[in-house]
């Protein structure tokens, strides 16, 4: 075995202090295998050493929260004995290196996190961030990531129902691929990862172990250098066919009572799954690597322990239940092997070829992992110097915005995802939130992912708040009661004080919004070191929100439905243009402060809109976000194939039309209902005003001219296909 040199320690991403701490914990120098184990367990990805202290500030409790952060996924009670199980996770670095497989295995990984809890996945979302459209790599990455997500999710038969796609040069060398999975389980049949008790068999199930993705975890914890391209051999290939069998086999096993604990093998594979299970169960664990199903010959202990081969799970069974479990996995033609047992030594002991190759106190790997209070430098938030706006024709700007990369239709993307399998997708991609019926019930879940990185750059705390508020708003806009979130914190190098400052501030903003909106965090993931050659990404704390719709027949959609409906504007409009897409796309400036978020108004306005939907008086709602009021109106018109007339009356046209003030919605009501609803708004102290009415085949803004819905649609639908059209070969598995 190679001697442990400082060089070797550094190659394992461990600092000198960390190495010294390892020696102290062991009371001796680690051997090579043990060094590898520590390097992954103490990596940022697995240990959360930079963020853990800050994550504690997130509110994680509510009466309906059955499982908060700490398990493979969060769990909330959705009534009738059902539970929703969900989490979002990033696969950023692998997707940059190999977009198809990186994205595909990201999807597979997050699905395992959900079904390892005993849930059947019912919906997938993905939040994607790519570099500037003009950047040489962007088109190739978009093609690969989208095909990879579809290739895996479609084969699994889980509908991919929505997400986000943004373009910005800060992601040129670090794209973000965040995948979210939502599953349904019986609330009293949730499976956890605590390997309690001694003498229980530890079983390995799924695919064989190969030399895949060794050190993926440390790769995800290191800043990119151009030569990281050379880390390529670590890329794993996904096998959705095997994962589908694994899903069905696990659910079949979970229908028995043979399982003590179960956990997917994610980052750092066998090592982290077994060590985490032992740590959570307060037990020890012994593994015999000779029993591990192997795909390649001559694998070393180091390789087997650090391999990130996909489609694998680890379970601890009740003694004597192995044959019953084995029968199930053989039926599904999957590998099954007893590879060890739990012990009362509270040590993590690994045997290979009859020799003990690692012997580490479990707590040293888990609880003793370093936790850092890294130095923070808070960039002071940009204050609004109200950006000077040259007056441009409103309608021309609308057309330009609606066909711009960040606002154009994502049809090209979601038509490659099977969003209709499982026959429960009530609201397909393109709305404010996806709506998926809980199978054979009258209720549904609403799901959304949101964050506005350009706001986060201006003010990370406000940006964090806004991301949560927008998720809450999107769920509200379809008529759902927002219940909880998962988050995926994508940032640069935490060792840089200003980046660490962004992380801390974002978490504060998220926490504040979660508290104000009763919208706790039940799971999440952190992806740091998203930098290339010292260039950090925009701070991107992606929020995945889940809400409950009690009556699936009482949902609102964004499409205009009737000619002559009154269009009401809910919420206060100041005309805030700082950080707006108007400023960026029309004026070419990324300036000013992000729009303020008033959480009290947010809640008041949203509760009113939801009440309108629940009481059946409104079936057409769209929240106002990116692009502002007129863009929102155009989206409703295009979805309904019907125009509208609106008065920008009394306001300076551009800020009113394109400002991105928060906490706002457009709702349509039959004309004769308008006064009643405006009165109800007044009694609820909700700002509401009559904006115009639906009808005709154009969007007409009084005094500003008009444009046909057909022309808008053409611009809206054409950018993506045109962009992806040439030169790219759709990747295939």
């Amino acid at each position: 075995m190679s001697a442990i040199t400082p060089q070797l320690v550094r190659e394992h991403g461990l600092s000198d202090e960390e190495y010294a701490r390892i020696e102290a914990l062991l009371g001796r120098a680690p051997n090579f295998v043990e060094l590898g184990i520590f390097s992954v367990m103490w990596s940022e990805h697995c240990s959360y050493k930079s963020t853990r202290a800050h994550l504690r500030r997130l509110p994680t409790k509510a009466p309906w929260v059955l499982q908060g952060p700490g398990e493979n996924a969060g769990v909330i009670d959705i009534g009738g004995g059902d539970a929703a199980v969900f989490k979002m996770e990033s696969h950023n670095h692998p997707s940059f290196i190999e977009p198809y497989q990186g994205a595909a295995t990201g999807v597979g990984g997050i699905m395992r996190d959900v079904f390892t809890m005993g849930a059947r996945p019912i919906a997938m979302m993905n939040a994607l961030r790519f570099g500037a459209p003009g950047h040489e790599k962007t088109r190739h990455l978009v093609a690969g990531v989208v095909a990879g997500i579809g290739g895996y999710g479609n084969c699994m038969g889980v509908p991919t129902v929505g997400g986000e796609v943004n373009f910005h040069s800060s992601y040129n060398g670090n794209i973000l691929v965040n995948a979210m999975c939502v599953g349904i389980a019986r609330a009293d049949r949730i499976f956890k990862s605590a390997a309690k008790g001694a003498g229980n068999p530890v079983v390995y199930i799924g695919s064989k172990t190969g030399r895949d993705g060794i050190h993926g975890a440390t790769m995800a914890s290191a800043e990119f250098r151009e030569d990281s391209q050379e880390k390529r051999p670590t890329v794993q290939v996904g096998d959705p066919f095997t994962e589908k069998l694994l899903l069905e086999a696990c659910l079949e096993l979970m229908a028995t009572d043979a399982i003590v604990a179960i956990q997917d093998m994610g980052a750092a594979g066998l090592t982290s799954s077994s060590a985490e299970m032992a740590s959570k169960g307060g037990s020890g664990i012994e593994l015999d690597l000779d029993c591990v199903p192997q795909r390649e010959t001559g694998m070393t202990a180091y390789e087997m322990l650090l391999s990130e081969s996909q489609e694998r799970m680890l379970a601890v069974l009740k003694p004597g239940r192995e044959p019953e479990a084995e029968r199930i996995f053989r039926k599904w033609e999957l590998d099954f092997a007893v590879i060890g047992e739990t012990t009362d030594t509270s040590h993590f002991v690994v045997r290979h070829k009859g020799k003990i190759v690692a012997d580490i106190p479990v707590h040293a790997l888990a609880e003793e992992a370093p936790v850092y209070q890294r130095p923070l430098a808070s960039r002071k938030p940009l204050v609004d110097e109200p950006p000077f706006v040259r007056s441009k024709p409103v309608i021309d700007s609308l057309l330009k915005l609606i066909g711009s990369p960040d606002l154009c239709s994502r049809r090209w993307v979601w038509e490659q995802y099977d969003w209709s399998v499982m026959a429960d997708t009530v609201q397909s991609p393109g709305g404010d939130a996806a709506v998926v019926r809980v199978h054979e019930s009258n209720k549904a879940l609403a799901i959304t992912t949101d964050v506005t990185p350009r706001y986060c750059r201006a003010d990370p705390c406000l940006g964090g708040k806004q991301a949560v508020a927008e998720a809450w708003r999107n769920l509200t806009a379809v008529g759902a009661k927002p219940l909880a979130i998962t988050d995926n914190l994508n940032f640069g190098n935490p060792e840089k004080p200003e980046i660490m400052g962004e992380i801390a501030a974002s978490i504060d903003g998220i926490a504040e919004a979660c508290r104000a909106l009763d919208f706790p965090v039940v799971s999440g993931n952190c992806s740091l070191y998203n930098e290339t050659n010292g260039e950090g990404i925009l701070p991107t704390p992606a929020i995945g929100g889940v809400g409950l719709i009690e009556d699936v027949h009482r949902v609102a959609t964004i499409a205009f439905k009737r000619e002559g409906d009154a269009i009401l504007l809910i919420g206060e409009t100041e005309g805030h243009l700082g950080r707006s897409l108007y400023l960026r796309e029309i004026e070419g400036r990324e300036e000013g402060a992000a729009p303020p978020v008033d959480l009290v108004a947010e809640r008041r306005n949203g509760d009113f809109v939801r009440w309108l939907i629940e009481s059946g008086s409104v079936d057409t709602v769209h929240d106002i976000s990116d692009g502002g009021l007129l863009v929102t109106l155009a989206e409703m018109a295009m979805a309904g194939g019907m125009g509208a007339w609106v008065a920008l009356g009394g306001h300076t046209p551009i800020p009113f039309a394109f400002g991105e003030d928060q906490g706002r919605y457009l709702v349509c009501v039959p004309r004769q209902e308008a006064d009643r609803i405006l009165a109800q708004a007044e009694t609820a102290h909700v700002p509401a005003a009559l904006l115009g009415q639906t009808g005709g085949d154009s969007i007409a803004a009084a005094g500003q001219g008009e444009i046909t819905v057909a022309d808008l649609k053409r611009a809206h639908e054409s950018w993506f296909p045109a962009f992806m059209g040439a030169g790219e070969l759709p990747p295939t598995n």
């Binding site: 290196i97 190999e98 198809y100 497989q101 695919s207 190969g210 030399r211 895949d212 390529r232 051999p233 890329v235 794993q236 290939v237 996904g238 096998d239 066919f241 095997t242 795909r295 390649e296 081969s309 996909q310 033609e333 070969l729 990747p731 598995n733």
Partner: protein, 80 residues
């Protein structure tokens, strides 16, 4: 001249398709089938008489488009 490009997965890279094919062959009663690997073969016609130049061009095609250097390797063959 006619070029044939073989694109196969690098050794050690998981080949789910090959794995499944091997499985299916065994189920079909073809005992003793060892490892199965699936790859692509791409036949193309290029208007270039000079072998050397042709090889350089096809190499370039593989690097730029045909092969995924992250997980695949390639060989090139010529037929007149």
């Amino acid at each position: 001249m006619k070029a044939r490009v073989f694109i196969t997965l690098k050794d050690g890279v998981l080949d789910p398709q090959g794995k499944a094919i091997g499985h299916a062959l065994n189920n079909l009663g073809f005992g003793g089938v060892g490892e199965v690997r699936q790859g692509k073969v791409i036949d193309l016609e290029i208007h270039e008489r000079d072998q050397g130049k042709a090889r350089a061009t096809v190499n370039d095609m593989c690097e730029k488009l045909l092969a995924n250097a992250v997980i695949e390797k390639y060989e090139i063959e010529f037929r007149p």
